[in-house]
Amino acid sequence: MKKLIMIIVGFFVCMVSFAYAGSIKDMPSAIVGQAIGYAMSHESFNPQKKINVKILNIQDKLQNYLIDRGFKLKSVLIVSHEKNGKQFNVKGSVIHIDSIHRFIQTGFDARCSIENKTTILVNKVQLANNSKPNTLFFIVPAEKIKSSDLRNISFSQALQQVSSVAKKIDGSYVGMDYRPEKYKLIAFIMNKIDDPDSVYPVVSDAPFANGEQGSLIETADGWHILLSEAEFGYNDNNPKYFNVLWEKDNNVLAFESYCTQGLIKAIQTALLRNGYDVGISDGKLSENTELAVKKYIKNTKFHKDTQISSSLLWFMQQNNQINISELVQIALLKNGINIGSVDGKIGPKTIKGLKKYQKRLDIKADGKITPELVLLLLQTSKNIDVYSHIRTLFQEPILIKKYQDKMWPNEL
């Protein structure tokens, strides 16, 4: 009898193991993350596996968290998870992105339980927004933009306005006078951060260093722009650095540092890789470099008025097989503008399409194919991720002080 009982107990243990393992198999943390992410962005969630994720009592809280309906779930990141029987905790973050590639990263800590083989209950979720600032940088002649203007318009309008005037001087352009001028250094914070007041720009003579502090502007829709003013001449021997500093828990971290001189050097490197003769690659806009830039602009079929800019650099850094005409036509089609067939030739239909697109964005409708316009086209096209490439400008963070002299030696 005892033997029978023990066999039954053993069999029960065995079955429990089966059932338990089966439910774990169908319980990926990523599905919980996705469910939270979709709930926040008002999107419907249809998991591939037939798993029902019920989020208890907090649906309203999640939906109120992302007020702007323009943001869609981009990715779910699972950082850690702990399980204790049928209960499990998932920590991670969800990233929502909008049409101009602003993003909101939200950390979550979810307490979940397995209801049955196909149902997961999310009993409690805590959310936290703790992203570091990510910026997009422009240099604009001081007189072209008033900081008060930026306060009264939306972030996307400000981005368009600044990028449209920045193109003429971003870096330096062919035939420019390099005497010092007053510029506004503007960085758009592309993500939602916890405490915007902790972020500030400085202009300094060294990268990642402290310096003369600029200001933080809040746009009409509650996003933020960093702005500094400086007087400098491109390519002289005194480059300025626009450093984005972040005060976080008594630390001052420099996450991004942009140099006013580095662009020419980068342009020279990219041109060299594409087989153009730039003379000496010294960061100075020499005659050879100017000539190489003009040749590149002509060969890639950008408009002849195209000037040196970080947007132009972006195209140079792509492979040299890039066909701008074809790219523009495809991007116009992806933006819903009919230009007939994609033949790689810029004819009247394509120019008409470009003007239509420019009018839509409320920018000067001249139909000129410039790097800035093509980038805008790509950014607003569906399924083309441009920003991931542009963000190569970001630097590794540097802790300003390391205090190594205060460390005690390890005797081991």
Binding site: V13, V79, N251, L253, F255, E411
Partner: protein, 297 residues
């Protein structure tokens, strides 16, 4: 007696059977435990075969959320883990555990560990498991999983600061990040050279920062002892640990005289570590090990 023996045997058999069945079920990789004991094919990423090198580097870039990705490596799924504070960390090294063909259509399996480091020297690692195939110059990674890999903690940094400075911190001012506390300790710490200026006994806070990320179940200890002996833990009762996302800081506050030239009464701060549940090796080797020894007097 004989029946009892049979009974016990049956129970053991059934329990073993149930255990085997559980192990055979492919659980989701998110919950898979890292395996400690595996042969290492390459100890440095530069020693890896070209294809493994490219796959490991691309997945490492994904973990870091970095743009430095190889254009010729296509990942067919997004990374299940992206390092929190990924902007702080950079790639340190990777080790290749296995890399072999798994079927006739050229698909290969890869198991590797990849490690990251931040400017303070904090480290953490991940185990990568990937199935990929080569198509000319391109590599297609069909699926991959990433789980955290905890390594033997070995790197620590010690700061000694006046106890008053440490005690000043309250629930409102206590730094919320490892960086914050590190900076606070570093600013208020005295250098080993300054120690001999303090000739009287006074209250000090010894802060030992563990730079390697530990699992929740790992055990860390900070002891104050008059012996350098690694088996003597010394006084550990009043030390406390602060944990920031897996990185630990041990704090011992006490009254003593700091490092003096020619001192005949040595005093040491010692940091100990033993791995947690992630350790699946020999249970007898899973003992607490001294990872640092600081002579404070």
């Amino acid at each position: 007696m004989n029946n009892k023996f049979k009974l016990i045997n049956s129970i053991i058999f059934i329990l073993i059977l149930s255990g085997c069945v559980t192990n055979d079920v492919k659980i989701n990789n998110v919950f898979k435990k890292p395996i400690n004991k595996q042969p290492i094919l390459a100890r440095n990423i530069l020693d890896m075969p070209e294809d493994a090198y490219r796959v490991v580097l691309t997945i490492s870039a994904q973990i870091l959320n970095s743009d430095k990705k190889s254009k010729d490596v296509m990942l067919q799924s997004s990374c299940p883990i992206i390092l929190r504070n990924s902007r702080l960390f950079s790639f340190q090294n990777a080790m290749l555990m296995s890399n072999e063909k798994i079927n006739t259509d050229g698909r290969k399996n890869l198991e590797a560990d990849t490690f990251f480091i931040d400017p303070l020297g904090r480290t953490l690692g991940y185990s990568i498991s990937a199935v990929y195939s080569e198509d000319g110059k391109k590599i297609i990674v069909h699926n991959y999983s990433v789980v955290e890999k905890f390594v033997q903690a070995k790197n620590t940094v010690c700061f000694i600061l006046p106890a008053d400075e440490y005690n000043k911190l309250n629930q409102h001012t206590f730094p919320k990040t490892f960086y914050g506390l590190y900076r606070y300790a570093a600013i208020n710490a005295i250098t080993p050279q300054q120690a001999s200026n303090y000739r009287e006994k006074s209250k000090w806070a010894v802060m030992v920062f563990f730079l390697d990320r530990m699992s929740q179940s790992a055990i860390s200890q900070l002891g104050i002892s008059d012996k350098a002996d690694p088996f003597d833990k010394g006084y550990t009762k009043d030390t406390k640990f602060i944990i920031y996302d897996g990185w630990r800081i041990g704090v011992a506050v006490g009254e003593f005289q700091l490092l003096q030239p020619g001192s005949t009464e040595p005093l040491y701060a010692k940091a100990f570590y033993s791995p947690g549940k992630e350790y699946t090796g020999n249970i007898f080797l899973k003992k607490s090990k001294m990872v640092s020894l600081y002579k404070i007097n």
